[in-house]
């Protein structure tokens, strides 16, 4: 195989690894929140809302963790993957 072709493949492969890694951040965070909710269901007061005050219903740590993971996955990730792809294309073009 021509060494020039191998070098052309290196940058996209690196970008693919980055895309895969950054794509796992949100789901892993949501999974962590879900596991936490299963292990400590008493911290999710929505499951037993009667007699709970405002703050106990609004601030529920496992749900907050899931919300942060979802926010990252839905708001930050799409643009980041687009930019990563563009950077990969420009890397390949300059090689």
């Amino acid at each position: 195989m021509n060494a020039e072709l191998v070098s052309e493949l290196e940058a996209p492969r690196h970008r693919t690894w980055q895309a895969r890694a950054v794509s796992t951040i949100g789901p892993v965070t949501v999974l962590a929140g879900t596991v936490w909710a299963l292990l400590q269901p008493y911290r999710v007061t929505l499951l037993h809302p009667h007699g709970q005050g405002f703050w106990w219903l609004v601030v529920e740590p496992p749900l907050l963790v899931m919300a942060v993971g979802l926010l990252f996955h839905l708001v930050v990730l799409p643009g980041l993957l687009e930019d990563l792809e563009e950077a990969g294309s420009s890397d390949a073009a300059t090689l």
């Binding site: 951040i25 965070t29 907050l64 963790v65 919300a67 942060v68 930050v76 980041l80 563009e86």
Partner: protein, 194 residues
């Protein structure tokens, strides 16, 4: 309508988790790609600065002793200084990566504030344990930041920096007003809450 203090800790934990995930994203894709969109470049320094601003009402309404008030005031100041420095670096008002030393200094000062203001031993109650643990974690993070100033493009230091925020978030989520830690609770600490 004032939230209990443990809820305030959990809200700040959420802020640290946001910072941690953004830092992980930046460490993985690289600073150039992360800063391709202006809103993303400003995201985590702004959250950092905002958390400093929000620490002032915490200092005013949630501290019950002078030493607690001073510690929370110190955290408010250093969060704002670190956030402002990072914002200036993103904006281009500051260019030398050595300005990141300001954030390292902020972490070291925060760690000191944790260790100095906690008057009890590690296993007195959960918050005592967490104060000691967070103090030493922040000192470790200051060393990581020092390494990041020397090697700003290193993925390893970027990931370690991101991990620091996630670890702090986890510790803040573990905080309760009064609770045992690993089965230990001093009899003079009081009755544990729910």
């Amino acid at each position: 309508m004032q939230p209990p203090s443990e809820h305030v800790h959990w809200m700040f934990a959420t802020g640290f988790l946001v910072l941690g995930l953004c830092q992980f994203g930046e460490a993985i894709v690289g600073t150039e790609v992360w800063r391709r969109r202006a809103w993303r470049a400003y995201l985590w320094p702004s959250v950092f600065f905002l958390m400093g601003v929000l620490m002032w009402p915490v200092m005013t309404f949630f501290t019950n002793s002078t030493i607690h008030m001073l510690a929370h005031g110190t955290w408010a100041e250093v969060l704002m200084i670190a956030g402002a420095t990072e914002l200036a670096l993103v904006r281009g008002k500051l260019s030398s990566p050595w300005w990141r030393l300001m954030t390292a200094l902020a972490f070291a000062v925060s760690g000191s504030a944790f260790l100095i203001h906690e008057q009890n031993g590690w296993f007195f109650q959960r918050s005592s344990f967490l104060h000691h643990a967070m103090g030493w974690t922040l000192f470790g993070a200051a060393i990581v930041l020092l390494a990041r100033c020397i090697r700003p493009r290193s993925v390893a230091t970027g990931l370690a920096f991101a991990l620091t925020f996630v670890v702090i978030a986890v510790m803040l989520y573990c905080d309760r007003d009064l609770a045992p830690v690993f089965g230990h609770l001093s009899p003079i600490a009081g009755a544990p809450h729910r």
